[in-house]
Subunit: 161 residues, 2 copies
């Protein structure tokens, strides 16, 4: 029922990338040290983001990651599903069809009523995450943090090349 921690890391990395100039690459190592997480494992999350087309990557020295789209075009749901895969809390195994007092030829409505309810809840969850993107979050952060704090962060990341 809980998302893997790579999701948290991916979200924080995307936010960090959205603070940088759009054409700058940042290495996995820099992102890992910045967030205090294991570099090699974080790499898996970033690879998932790259595979989903949310970030660009370049090889070699000065290589690394940068956002592949504008911050307003990357929703939280995009990031979560890139790392976690398709998100669905409920998996219906159709146990209603095991009912021993119904004939095998009995007709069933196309979807189990219980599954329908659970899916509705999942949809509400996704809707909430789709409505939030990196640009909105960035604006919240610039309101909350001092310019100095933000600047120090971006400088630190860019100096680590």
């Amino acid at each position: 029922m809980i998302l893997r921690n790579q999701v948290e890391w991916a979200l924080h990395c995307c936010v960090a990338l959205s603070e940088l100039p759009a054409d700058q690459y940042v290495s996995t190592k820099a992102l890992a040290e910045f967030h205090g997480v294991p570099k090699e494992y974080l790499s898996k999350a970033l690879q998932a983001l790259a595979q989903a087309g949310l970030v660009d990557t370049t090889l070699g020295p000065t290589g690394g990651y940068r956002l592949a789209k504008r911050p307003e075009d990357i929703s939280f749901l995009d990031i979560v599903e890139a790392v976690e895969g398709p998100t669905q809390t409920f998996k219906c195994t159709e146990i209603r069809k095991n009912n021993p007092c119904l004939k095998k030829t009995a007709k069933f409505s196309p979807m189990c009523s219980i599954a329908k309810v659970m899916n509705r809840a999942d949809e509400a969850w996704k809707r909430e995450l789709r409505s939030m993107n990196l640009k909105i979050l960035r604006e919240e952060l610039t309101d909350k943090l001092s310019d100095d704090q933000l600047q120090k962060g971006t400088d630190w990341l860019l100096s680590r090349r």
Copy 2:
């Protein structure tokens, strides 16, 4: 990210119980065979429901489970959380505090902005499940299924004592 299948079983069992006369106990064995799931493992889910006060239980022969409240007072969220425990998809590990270019004395807002967004999504999910209860579902079922189908089901369960 996925709920355990005990949640599905618990939901179906509660719906079945809500179809029965309120004072009738049904054994684990009957519920397990009715749904085609392992009896001993289903028992764990039912115990969780009993612990949460959603169902009553009696020992001995003719023992079993019955609803402890009126169907309209048992929401889907009650059942899900009884079996699954507190539901939360996102666990914030506060990696924002690992930022190496902030002093240790730096002040942080009480909640990580990213966690706030994720929690909002979780709340939307819970709100949806809180709005659905056993009575509403039961009314949906009586509309959808024939009286004969429902009657057969309750008779089968009651005859298995």
